[in-house]
Assembly symmetry: C2
Homo-oligomer: 345 residues x 2
């Protein structure tokens, strides 16, 4: 058997939970169902290739993100865009700086592109200090830096002035800020693309828009950068039905705003209840909360009660990530968490 | 400005025609509209991530392609799967053997993965001889061979016994047979995956199934190969609405069979009419026909009459590719071709 390249053989495929559930709070998905009743596919022509330039979608996004459509490239999820970008800029064995803990796919993208991954470990309470980031940057001069902000799975957040400070010191590199969760708190760096042409901001419709199933990511940067990356993106990379449905959601921004407001209120409520239950609860600017618990196999115990949360104990001892869902989902989760806690005594 | 890697800078983005048209015969798309009225999205949950394993779709495909679901990997079009595969097997500067003329994206995939592309030029009437393929293989020992069969844009075809002969001599390499058009003629090599574990067959729902908008490709190979490639495919690579719609088409295989029959009949008719119009017409086992014409700017002249065909004159002097569409589309195209020919006198 001809085997795949040596450096790829030890990749463990991304684990996807498909256990039965009543409440699914393990993947930071949205929870609005507004689309079901309103979907209009009358003009959908499945037999034609998609608009490879996704013009209408990029127009809608430009209005929403506050930039020009020429600043936007869309892809089959942020994954495709991130992989395309690091592959476009980095020659074999060049360095990509990422953080730990952060989104688990970044090191995989590096591996897939034959790049060296330099990870910076978090400090107190799983946050990152700007001074340390800059120090490590200057020591290592990576070609690309990927900052998830707010960070997944910790919920920690770098303020815009901190991002600015980092950008002032990293002009020789491509700086990617993955803002998948920005709608739930914090200030976006999108407008900084006008000041820093090495800045790339990633956005997604998978979280606040509740469209994870459609796999729609956006890469926002200077026009010059977009022109360059256009050369290396695959044609027709975003299918037409995802484009069509996504475009319809931009007519419903009011519902999305309400959804975000609801998530923030629920997040506050859930955090308070978790603290009452004596879990260690980390600050969060996102639609999820990282907690610490010494209950052994907490995720498994909840899974047995058909509540899915994400188990991070292999990477961060005793830590779990719980997505914020609809009120009834969160209440059910808290109720089951209460049961587990009592059974564990 | 930090620029993308040197070897990528001269890539010319894949040209996509977005001229106004009455009849679109430039992209080998399907022409069946069966889905529009029957689409059932009642169970569609846009907010959840797709099934990353695409289990139901792979089950449906396995029945249709005549293999096990464990032999199938699905992707965001064959493009994603091809790029993933060559990247998984080839180290920098290793050789990938392709053919000329063939699908124009293969050399781009090689460039994106930093690989050397070795092209074999076609012989008489743009066909390829097995003996020449084997000779060039042995001289060059490429890591991967990509054969488009039937070939796009020429329509030429290697018989199964010829494919067998090639496979017997190329066991040290990964052999990819791209069968995007196989439903329109010829015999698939899918069952040969049981004899050659280095064989990968690519199929797509973009052509015979008329679902180009959904971007669904399938990679069919030995279980061992699929297990290996699973490690390097991105999670959630095929969105959920494409999966959902594609699954519904497998309940309608009878309509697809009728569609294929219609295309074959129309192909015969269109070929005869083109010959009457004194074009050089190449044999075709596909849903398109390559023609040679000394009418200058033929594609542009047809475009002015709102008929789109594909202009290949930059690569192959005086050559054009015409997709076979519905009866009324083909008749309109022939009528306009007749007008152009008369105006050209």
């Amino acid at each position: 058997m001809i085997n795949i390249k040596k450096n790829l053989r030890d990749i463990v495929p991304y684990r996807v939970n498909d256990k039965p559930y009543k409440v699914k709070l393990d993947a930071n998905e949205g929870c609005n169902y507004m689309l079901n009743s309103k979907l209009n596919l009358d003009n959908f022509k499945p037999q034609l290739y998609p608009d490879s330039d996704a013009k209408q979608l990029r127009e809608n996004m430009a209005k929403y993100y506050g930039c020009k459509m020429e600043n936007i490239l869309v892809g089959n999820g942020s994954s495709e865009l991130l992989l395309t970008t690091i592959n476009a800029f980095c020659d074999i064995d060049e360095k990509v700086m990422t953080f730990e803990p952060s989104f688990s796919m970044y090191p995989i993208y590096c591996k897939l592109s034959n790049l060296k991954n330099l990870t910076i470990k978090s400090e107190n309470n799983y946050s990152f200090s700007v001074d340390n980031i800059i120090k490590r940057y200057e020591e290592n001069k990576p070609k690309v830096i990927i900052i998830c902000n707010p960070n997944n799975p910790t919920g920690s957040y770098l303020k815009k002035k901190e991002i600015n400070k980092i950008l002032d010191k990293t002009k020789q590199s491509i700086v990617i800020i993955d803002e998948a969760y920005i709608e739930f708190g914090g200030e976006s760096a999108v407008d900084l693309i006008n000041n820093y042409e090495n800045l790339i901001v990633m956005r997604t419709l998978s979280k606040a828009f509740g469209l994870a199933g459609l796999r729609i990511g956006a890469l926002i940067s200077s026009e010059k950068m977009i022109e360059n990356l256009w050369k290396v993106k695959l044609p027709y990379n975003l299918n037409s039905v995802s484009q069509l449905i996504a475009n319809q959601t931009f007519d419903n921004l009011e519902i999305i705003k309400q959804h975000i407001k609801m998530i923030k209120e629920e997040r506050k409520k859930v955090m308070d209840l978790l603290k009452e239950l004596e879990f260690k609860v980390y600050p969060s600017m996102t639609n999820f909360i990282m907690i610490k618990s010494d209950i052994k196999n907490l995720a498994e115990k909840l899974e047995n009660k058909q509540v899915l949360i994400r188990d991070f104990t292999k990477d961060i001892e005793d830590h779990y990530r719980i997505s914020i869902g609809r009120k009834e989902d969160n209440d059910y989760m808290i109720k089951k968490l209460w049961e587990v806690k009592n059974e564990d005594r």
